[in-house]
Symmetry: C2
Subunit: 239 residues, 2 copies
DNA sequence: ACTCGACAAATTGGATCCAATATAATTATA
DNA sequence: TATAATTATATTGGATCCAATTTGTCGAGT
């Protein structure tokens, strides 16, 4: 696909991920192609791609809409993420942790240690933690060296909350966030320890729990949105 | 998508799955649209869809090609299948086995028992076994009631050997095939027992081993193709 | 025999148009 | 006023064309 086609795809994905196009919003080829200043062809192809990814759904002759994602679907996806990342952890432990991979993971741990050693956390710290969290998880997946797994993880990651590319934080309760992220960070430590010891079952178990911990937090927010106020998503840049 | 577009997609997928278009074969929009008697537009869309599914790969200005799948990729996919179906088994055991679901699974077990009670197996028996195997596995996935899981399984199933929709059999060694399939069938029995008892960990473990057993067989064939002669794939009808 | 350059052919990406069909809006009728 | 019928509009699917770019072929020169 050429540059313009790629641009349309990325642009549309951005509009969805950023909330400019909210879930349930209807979109159609002609108005969007006019808005983006291109012909219908690249828009049509982008629609198909994003439909196949699960971000859009077809509304027949009314066009397409941004697919709404319910609570159960997110929970389902977290469950799948848990077993997939658990598999990654087990594979890495079984294969042995390479020097290079170990170095990357240790660097993430050290950075996190530095962040949490202050006893408090700022919004900027959150962003830093998010970056290192992404590097950590992606490194683990890459180290597993299983193409089907990498693909399955990527495909499962299109939902907020279900993916390590997006963490939800309550900026009005930073002390609580501090404790929560520190716990997640300790789980990273435990994982690396298990990997170094070649303990596959332990590594798998801690990664599964790691995913569930994220799901538990999601449930707190989702079920009590009024009580917990506004939530900020720190997300990955659009692909 | 309209009927013609769907037809082109299904047709092309059939041509790939059946081997009419062999791995590595180059295909392009214009010749294929002429061959199928349609314009380029539906062919273009089908190419994109199948590219996204992983069946085609882009060759730049030389068009597309049927993607070759190597041994490791298949093994990787079996590994992922193992943990996904293991998750399905665990979820079903945790949720409790419904009457309806139990009835379907038990019917599959009974049919299998009848097949294997003869002490020998014919090619037609193989086909029957394949059908009930598919129903069994798909029922399990459906009973898990996890949308992300169903999607992940479906997406992982595009490779032969890695999917329960395709089993490889050596028609020249039916006694050996009998024993192998009987073992797989016994694993189905064990799974249902675990489900009925609500034993999540046991259910998960037997399903994982079930997938690995298929992978082991694949390795026997792949590594010794000369020795084992021709292999017949009994596959699902194209979707 | 090999290499290079010119030209032709092949291929995709995008634009535009037409047809079919569903949806929405308007008008007529009870 | 409410409902049904009619008309207008919106939308996708497919066909066709043009442009850009890559790839392949052929001929000439060394």
């Amino acid at each position: 696909m050429a540059k313009q086609g790629q641009w349309v795809l990325v642009k549309l994905r951005q509009m969805i991920m950023s909330g400019d196009l909210a879930p349930g919003t209807r979109i159609a080829e002609i108005p969007l192609s006019e808005q983006l200043g291109v012909s219908r062809t690249p828009v049509r192809l982008a629609f198909r791609t994003l439909e196949q990814e699960g971000l859009l759904q077809r509304e027949g002759r009314r066009g397409f809409s941004i697919r709404k994602v319910g609570e159960k679907e997110i929970r389902d996806a977290v469950e799948v993420r848990g077993v997939l990342e658990g598999l990654a952890a087990r594979l890495v432990a079984e294969q042995g942790l390479s020097k290079k991979g170990r170095a990357v993971l240790l660097e993430c741990l050290e950075k996190g240690d530095t962040l949490f050693s202050k006893g408090t956390i700022t919004e900027e710290d959150m962003s830093s933690y998010h970056d290192l969290n992404m590097v950590f998880h992606q490194t683990l997946i890459d180290l597993a060296d299983n193409s089907a797994l990498s693909l399955a993880v990527a495909r499962n990651n299109h939902l907020p909350f279900a993916s390590y590319s997006s963490i939800a934080v309550d900026l009005k309760a930073l002390d609580r966030e501090f404790m929560r992220l520190k716990l997640a960070h300790m789980q990273h430590h435990i994982l690396v320890d298990a990997l170094e010891r070649g303990q596959g079952a332990r590594a798998e178990a801690v990664m599964r729990e790691h995913a569930y911990a994220g799901a538990l937090y999601f449930e707190m927010f989702w079920g009590n949105r009024r009580r917990y106020g506004d939530v900020t998503f720190i997300t990955a840049a659009a692909e």
